[in-house]
Subunit: 207 residues, 2 copies
DNA sequence: AATTGGTTTAACCATTTGGTCAAATTTAAG
DNA sequence: CTTAAATTTGACCAAATGGTTAAACCAATT
């Protein structure tokens, strides 16, 4: 059955995602992935020859999840404030659905910064479109028009992304220290934070 | 010689720090730590019986580096704005000296959130002094006095810490995407960012 | 029914890895 | 100098781990 193949491959990917994102490349075990996918370990190597290759695929998919939305928002014709608000809203939702990915990406990128280069080589369009420079141009234009305070775009973007991502990757610490390790309370905190961050950012840059 | 012991133990700790912080608990190899310390692998186990125990010690030390300064600043008698500015200044400096620690801590805490509980058990004073509630009280007092905008302390602290830590833990990504992987440029960015973050935060909360 | 091609498995292998042990060496004390 | 205790080492071990292989299985084609 040609469908069985697709199915097995998908089961492997699902299992690999789970294990890799939770334990990292070095902590993951091929046997555990095989078990979780309900197959034999040899079958894993039949589909993805090495652990490295399997990991690379999982990493690429994880990383890719965050790219298209960014492009869509950044390249749209909205004014800066709207873009930022939409960006925050959109990515905080996305992270709620994929909370393990940022930590996973950050961690593995620290282990091996070279991966980024590989990704760029395989997805040239990401760098090609040069999102950053276009957004920077728009901001400086609105600064000229007196809508936005003079600001360095790199600092601003670091702030926006940081405020979104940090509470997710540092969840165990923040939840443990500031929320008595109460999961529900922290979920509520994250939900409530969406509007807070929007206001926080907009307030700080509006002229 | 009683001093040789101290020396060996220190050499082990230095080596262990380096390897664990760069490769994580699962990625680290006892052999590599021994090599880096210039000793036999068996000697490693003589001083720290298991990998787990050695790791725990390294983790505790790493985590502890960030606690005393926080207590000192938070419990001082300064007004909120000064505390925040001093906090940012102080921790950005500290992170420049120990850039690997935050990623290390975040990563290992995701792998095993239980570690935090153990640390609290061994360093009860951290929780006991209840920094958070005292700082919260001070802020609400200054809100009453009309110095600070009404604000949720947890959100504020998450922002402050996030803006400080994020550019460090996500360095490979940000540097790669926004700075053409130019190390010197990114170091300059971090240096310049200190005042930027201070202004950014203060601006957003002053009444 | 026989053949063919992809899929799946059980058994196996080589290497790595955390950990142990008995012997050797060094250090401090009597 | 002798002795006893602490320190250090080389050799070794059992388990875990990524990976391989040959055979079995299964669906579709002739």
């Amino acid at each position: 059955m040609v469908n069985q193949q697709k199915d097995t491959e998908q089961k492997i990917m699902d299992a690999a995602k789970e294990v890799f994102q939770q334990k990292g490349m070095t902590g993951a075990r091929m046997q555990e992935i095989a078990d979780k996918a309900g197959i034999n370990k040899a079958l894993l190597h039949y589909y993805y020859r090495t652990k490295e290759k399997l990991f690379e695929k999982v990493f690429n998919i994880a990383f890719s999840i965050f790219i298209p939305r960014m492009q869509e928002i950044m390249l749209s014709e909205k004014p800066v404030f709207e873009k930022i608000e939409f960006f925050i809203e959109s990515y905080m939702d996305l992270l709620t659905k994929h909370p393990y990915i940022p930590g996973f990406v950050i961690n593995e990128l620290n282990r091996n910064p070279q991966i980024l280069v590989n990704i760029f080589e395989k997805n040239i369009h990401i760098k090609e479109s040069n999102l950053f420079e276009k957004f920077d141009a728009q901001i400086q234009a609105e600064v000229q028009k007196g809508i936005v305070k003079p600001i360095d775009t790199r600092n601003l973007m670091t702030n926006v992304i940081g405020l979104i991502v940090f509470p997710i990757v540092a969840r165990p610490i923040i939840q443990g220290i500031m929320f008595d390790n109460d999961k529900k309370q922290y979920d509520a905190f994250l939900k409530q934070r969406k509007d807070f961050v929007k206001e926080f950012i907009i307030n700080s840059i509006k002229a």
